[in-house]
């Protein structure tokens, strides 16, 4: 044993370090359930903020839901929004301090149910903000109720016999709607269930933050995510279930790129 410890000492040296926790991520234990996607996405955001050197100019807007405590984990200034109002709060911050980088972090209930109006209108105005959308098809914080993105037939605490289209309507593909908005600059859908997916999601989040420095409209990153507690599965089962059932409805990939729409030819000239 002593020999092993001695050998480890030789290995654990700064010059051998190939990966470390971003200093923008705080040294606290996250409250998220094991297997939850939130922690990974937090880490990616912290890394991107660190890489771009924008910690001192980034303001985050945290939501209501499991990520309500995002401000405990990422070491930047935060404004904690009411349920669904993050895009309006972010608009207020960005308009009054246009030199800052402003992002929202929202779940499906927050962004696609109670905050649909704020979401659509902030993006339609082309607010120069980043929006990170965690879609896990359920309300996690309140104990697993139906979300706007809950799949047909999916069992939740408020659809105990499965989501019924006549009773509950359809799962809302809000990212597809958002991609139609002229104010959207970059709209993409990612996931973080494999190492490769995490790398791609990281690239997308970095791109969104980079583009937001150019003020060319709203940059929107959906992350199709797991909620193993809400889904009543273990983390491995959750990943499999997500791939099998969510990806067909919420396919990964870019939905829009290249900045907000041009207005040439569509502007009346006031007298």
């Amino acid at each position: 044993m002593a020999e092993v410890a001695e050998r480890l000492k030789d290995i654990i040296k700064p010059e051998n370090l190939i990966y470390g926790k971003s200093p923008v991520l705080n040294n606290v234990t996250m409250h998220y359930c094991p297997g939850c996607s939130h922690g990974v996405v937090h880490k990616l955001i912290a890394e991107v903020i660190d890489e771009l050197g924008i910690q001192d100019k980034t303001i985050g807007v945290s939501p209501v839901g499991c990520a309500v405590f995002a401000y405990n984990y990422i070491d930047i200034d935060w404004s904690e929004a009411a349920h669904g109002r993050a895009p309006a709060v972010a608009t207020g911050i960005k308009r009054i301090m246009p030199e800052k980088t402003v992002f929202t972090y929202q779940g499906d209930g927050d962004l696609a149910a109670i905050g649909t109006a704020e979401t659509m209108h902030a993006i339609n105005r082309g607010e120069n903000i980043v929006m990170i959308f965690i879609n896990n098809a359920i309300y996690g914080m309140t104990g697993g109720q139906m979300a706007p993105t809950t799949l047909l037939g999916q069992v939740t605490s408020t659809t105990p016999y499965g989501r019924n289209v006549d009773l509950n309507g359809y799962p809302l593909k809000i990212t597809e709607l958002i991609a139609q908005l002229p104010g959207a600059a970059y709209v993409t859908r990612q996931s973080v269930h494999t190492a490769a997916a995490v790398r791609k999601a990281r690239k997308a989040i970095r791109k969104a933050f980079e583009l937001s420095q150019q003020n060319i409209g709203t940059c929107f990153v959906e992350v199709v995510s797991t909620c193993n507690s809400g889904w009543k599965m273990n983390p491995v089962e959750s990943n499999d279930w997500m791939v099998k059932h969510m990806f067909p409805l919420f396919p990964l990939g870019d939905l829009k790129d290249g900045g907000k729409d041009k207005t040439d030819g569509f502007n009346l000239q006031p007298q």
């Binding site: 807007v61 904690e80 709060v89 608009t91 207020g92 911050i93 308009r95 301090m97 704020e118």
Partner: protein, 361 residues
């Protein structure tokens, strides 16, 4: 003397906002106050003072834009009318809970529901007793003239920053729509980045620098003991307002036997009633609360021990009358007279009510 102009109450809110160095306005159109944002848009202050003006998609969005921008230590405001203020109640509660300064203007119209676009004072309870959820208070200023609409914008920001608390200017459709002579303040510069940092640098979301820990604007606290402390801190703040910032006006109260209590445009009508009653030999005075919260308890208490009765005059079903009764505590008579639905009582009508309910004859 400053520049004199004949202006509408709503227009002067916009003018005063620009001139006092306001950083931003977020609003949504609603009668009878739409002229506020219309005037701002027409003036384009973003080209002169740098003030941001944005038409939001709803009153809900407007107040949460105010929340975000106020959290940046900027002097921001919104305006609306009764149904719109109800929609803002959520955000106002969050702003009070997060201890952010801002100015909210309510140019009241009649309710309940969609009600009417005619003037009213039926949001007295909503304004002075919180309005949204949780134990919080706004500092409420009630203008009775176009001049006060002007003056209370700058005063509102001063008080909002003194207490880190939302201030409401509770006007009504009369004050918002009527035109009067107003003396405008000279243009003041907006706070510089250095001033913002000096004044709000200990709490605002200005971007986390290496030399300090992160700032979080929130009203959330999961530890009940800390949450109770937060509530006690808010209550201490409201008590401080009661000690330091009660404002009111008295007219002919020195020798009065009967005192009318009225705020805003109701007080304007009562001024005439006082004159009419005095001409007939009745010793009538007027007490006009200028701050509705904190309520002018002391002058009412002092009068209660020596006058024969109070009558509140309100454009509602009798709301402020309960606050007067609480202070008077049975020492003398307290009556109410009012009209609703957008109807304004005439000075004669108020005088008749006064004779009937209090003076007799």
């Amino acid at each position: 003397m400053g520049e004199l102009r004949l202006m509408k109450g709503n227009e002067v809110i916009a003018e005063a906002a620009i001139r006092c160095g306001c950083d931003g306005y977020f609003g949504y159109p609603i009668t009878p106050q739409s002229e506020v944002m219309e005037s701002l848009m027409a003036q384009r202050p973003w080209e002169t003072t740098g003030m941001v003006v944005l038409q939001a998609e709803s009153e809900i969005a407007s107040i949460h834009m105010v929340y975000g921008a106020a959290g940046c230590g900027k002097r921001v405001m919104t305006s609306s009318s009764s149904p719109g203020i109800s929609l803002m109640a959520e955000g106002i509660s969050y702003i009070a809970g997060s201890e952010l300064p801002c100015v909210i203007v309510n140019v009241q119209r009649g309710g309940p529901g969609l009600g009417t676009i005619q003037p009213s004072q039926a949001d007295y309870y909503q304004a002075t007793k919180g309005g949204g959820h949780g134990d919080y208070s706004l500092l409420v200023l009630a203008p009775a003239s176009v001049q006060e609409m002007h003056d209370f914008v700058a005063l509102g920001f001063d008080l909002a920053y003194k207490y880190r608390n939302p201030v409401m200017i509770l006007a009504d459709g009369v004050i918002g729509q009527m035109m009067e002579k107003v003396e405008l303040m000279d243009q003041r510069p907006r706070w510089t980045d250095e001033q913002v940092k000096e004044i709000t640098g200990s709490w605002a979301t200005l971007g986390k620098t290496k030399d300090r820990s992160k700032h979080v604007i929130t009203s959330l606290e999961m530890d009940s003991h800390i949450m109770e402390e937060n509530n006690l801190r808010l209550q201490a703040k409201y008590n401080k307002m009661k000690q330091e910032d009660v404002r009111y006006e008295t007219i002919l109260c020195e020798d009065a036997e009967y005192v009318l209590v009225a705020f805003g445009s109701a007080a304007r009508i009562c001024q005439k009633t006082v004159q009419l009653a005095r001409e007939k030999g009745h010793k009538v005075g007027l007490l006009r609360p200028i701050t509705l919260f904190p309520f002018p308890e002391k002058p009412i208490e002092e009068l209660a021990s020596r006058i024969k009765g109070f009558m509140t005059v309100e454009f509602n079903a009798g709301q402020m009358v309960h606050d007067v009764k609480l202070v008077v505590n049975g020492k003398t008579k307290v009556e109410y007279f009012g009209r609703m639905g957008g109807i304004l009582p005439s000075p004669d009508e108020v005088e008749q009510a006064l004779l009937q309910k209090l003076i007799g004859g």
